[in-house]
């Protein structure tokens, strides 16, 4: 199905989709900082309105460099200030300023602000919101239909809470995984009972949503008679969330991820896979070399989320929220 029709060359693609000149790896943080908006945040690409996801991920990517390089420090501080100023009264961060109640970037904002003393109060409110937020169960329509047709259209344990993209709806893999990463970052050891319970529920949900053969997609394993396939990016995020003790779900997940990272793997997938390998202290040389090769050849992708995650994954310093620097 790959398109093999006539090709008409046009340089505009590169101007629109790929940065003009590939910087060296050491320039990556500065390249990220250059895309900062005047309000201190970052958008999904250069010039786009700031949003909480890209601002949080970029702050995380700049955090190490910000300790030693003054321009990065200014950029990082403006980014964290943008986040602090946009926290909702209830403690969450909404995606953008459109007015839509889309609080799913909250765990990323918490990770970005966690080690900043000025953000202590904001972080506390954010974690209270995160711990209290749960996904909703299956709706009456689907339950009734399954009852009437005497069959299960989907194969999901609807008793698990997890975390949803939007409160009041069903829990899915990515928001659940990032919430777990944020909770583990805040309580690397001896979490309070309420957090322990949420982490245990999240772990169960990820096990329930694992695809046959391993790995994760957005969060559905089967529809009608068809088993659904995993995606590399969500698989890597789920593996980040499960950092800790290895089990069959994790082993299957890594096996699936290895198979999913084929020649067409995106920078986003490579970056997330590298982060998950670092979190599990697996050998990441090949992943690192592939990501470096792509970045040196093409420059950072226009997509800010991918650029920030690639910079973060290649960060030479330790990433404490991944458990790096801790024993065992």
């Amino acid at each position: 199905m790959r398109y093999e029709g006539p090709r008409i060359s046009a340089d505009r693609y590169h101007a629109t989709h790929i940065a003009a000149s590939p910087p060296t790896l050491s320039d990556l943080p500065a390249a990220l900082a250059d895309r900062q908006n005047g309000d201190g945040g970052w958008g999904s690409r250069q010039g786009a309105a700031s949003n909480a996801e890209c601002t949080a991920l970029t702050c995380l990517a700049l955090e190490t460099g910000a300790r030693t390089v003054a321009p990065l420090s200014r950029s990082w501080r403006a980014g964290t200030a943008w986040l602090r100023a946009r926290q909702q009264r209830g403690g969450a961060w909404h995606y953008d300023e459109s007015g839509a109640a889309a609080p799913w970037p909250t765990p990323l904002a918490l990770l970005a602000l966690l080690r900043e003393p000025e953000s202590r109060a904001a972080v506390g409110r954010g974690y209270r919101w995160l711990i209290a937020t749960r996904g909703a169960g299956l709706g009456w329509r689907l339950r009734l239909r399954q009852f009437l047709s005497r069959r299960q259209d989907v194969e999901l344990d609807a008793t698990l809470d997890g975390w949803p993209w939007v409160p009041g709806t069903f829990p899915w893999v990515e928001p659940t995984a990032w919430a777990m990463v944020a909770l583990k970052a805040r309580w690397p050891e001896r979490p309070p009972r309420s957090v322990r319970a949420r982490l245990a529920d999240g772990k169960q949900l990820l096990a329930d949503r694992a695809c046959r053969g391993g790995g994760w997609n957005y969060g559905n394993t089967r529809v009608l008679d068809s088993h659904l396939a995993p995606f590399p990016d969500t698989t890597a995020i789920a593996l980040l969330a499960l950092r800790g003790r290895r089990d069959g779900v994790v082993d299957d997940g890594f096996r699936a991820l290895d198979g999913l990272l084929d020649d067409n793997a995106s920078m986003l997938s490579l970056a997330l896979a590298l982060l998950s390998a670092r979190a599990w202290r697996r050998n990441a040389d090949t992943l690192r070399a592939r990501l470096v090769g792509r970045l040196e050849g093409e420059g950072p992708p226009a997509d800010q989320r991918s650029s920030a995650l690639a910079t973060l994954a290649l960060n030479a310093g330790t990433l404490p929220w991944l458990g790096e620097g801790a024993d065992g």
Partner: protein, 340 residues
């Protein structure tokens, strides 16, 4: 009688608006006319055009031009946004609008004087834009044509009052790229859909709503009711529309993602999305009135009945094929009860 019983039972079940796997709000009574005056777009008659298109090849540019001309479409000076269907990607499947058709449409509309042609999509399952573009071949289209691509999932958006009240969502968030277009071209694949019955021009607009607001999958909309959301989204979109259904290779069976490819060799064009979808359903030998949301859409968004549609180009009979259905959708087949 068994057929009628099956239809009624299935219609009752479908009116529950199947959710992909999410949860939905409890039912509430619908007003007799759940749409606003602004959303009422049904004209006395509509035109659709069917053109033979045996392959994804160099003839497509002329076919797109001809289809647009047969439907009296004027694009000169307009900022056009193409909305293909890239809900998911499966290298062996027929899920997506073919890149060659997108290329041909870009070239045809440019040749017809469009001020700009942008490709925009908000994939429902995947967040990895680079992967979707690369795996589907859309990146080659963008490279070759120089067209701009907008990921609608993260596009800047604004709230609009819903044009109808089939769901309880009073406002819908629409990306600026969509609401600011002079002409929005829905480019779905010719497919059956295991929940909604068919996925064509109207259902394709699900992908126009931003994942950043509605999640991946767009669970808020599933929660509010899949078919009801299709109606509210299309009632809220007031941008002038054109529709091109990619039926060169369609999908039968367990669509929209896990079904089987079916070669139909046809393109369907039209400005009225309801008329286009009704014609496409008839090409799959399905009765559009048995698709609940199409039946509702035929009350205010466009023309559903064959008698109100001027069929241009080829006839439906020339290209109609019996698309295979999963058991639960068998009631979609026309029967004697649908005659007259």
């Amino acid at each position: 009688m068994a057929d009628r019983r099956d239809f009624l039972r299935a219609a009752a079940l479908l009116s529950l608006a199947p959710a992909l796997s999410g949860c939905e709000r409890p039912p509430r009574p619908l007003p007799p006319q759940p749409w606003t005056e602004r959303a009422h777009r049904r004209q006395p008659r509509s035109a659709t055009a069917i053109l033979a298109a045996p392959a994804y090849d160099g003839t497509l540019v002329d076919l797109v031009r001809r289809g647009a001309e047969l439907c009296d479409l004027e694009v000169r000076g307009r900022r056009v946004v193409l909305k293909p269907n890239f809900v998911e990607f499966d290298p062996g499947g027929a899920i997506n609008t073919h890149p060659a058709l997108i290329t041909a449409t870009i070239e045809a509309f440019r040749a017809m004087g469009a001020a700009s042609v942008t490709v925009a999509e908000g994939p429902g399952h995947r967040r990895d834009t680079e992967y979707i573009l690369s795996a589907s071949g859309l990146d080659a289209v963008l490279r070759d044509t120089g067209a701009r691509y907008v990921d609608l999932n993260v596009d800047r958006c604004r709230a609009f009052a819903a044009g109808s009240a089939y769901t309880s969502l009073e406002r819908l968030y629409l990306p600026d790229t969509i609401s600011g277009a002079d002409l929005l071209v829905s480019m779905p694949k010719l497919k059956v859909h295991h929940w909604a019955g068919v996925t064509l021009s109207l259902k394709n607009m699900f992908g126009a709503l931003p994942g950043a607001v509605y999640g991946w999958p767009k669970n808020v909309l599933h929660y509010a009711g899949l078919e009801q959301s299709i109606l509210d989204i299309n009632a809220t979109l007031t941008v002038p529309r054109f529709n091109i259904v990619d039926g060169i290779i369609g999908m039968e069976g367990d669509g929209p993602i896990r079904g089987d490819a079916r070669a139909s060799g046809v393109l369907v064009f039209g400005r009225d999305p309801v008329a286009v979808d009704a014609t496409a359903a008839r090409l799959m030998q399905l009765e559009p009135r048995r698709v609940w949301y199409l039946l509702q859409a035929g009350r205010f968004l466009g023309n559903l009945e064959a008698e109100q549609i001027d069929q241009r180009g080829e006839s439906i009979e020339t290209f109609a094929q019996e698309y295979r259905l999963i058991d639960r959708l068998r009631y979609l087949r026309p029967s004697l009860h649908d005659v007259g």
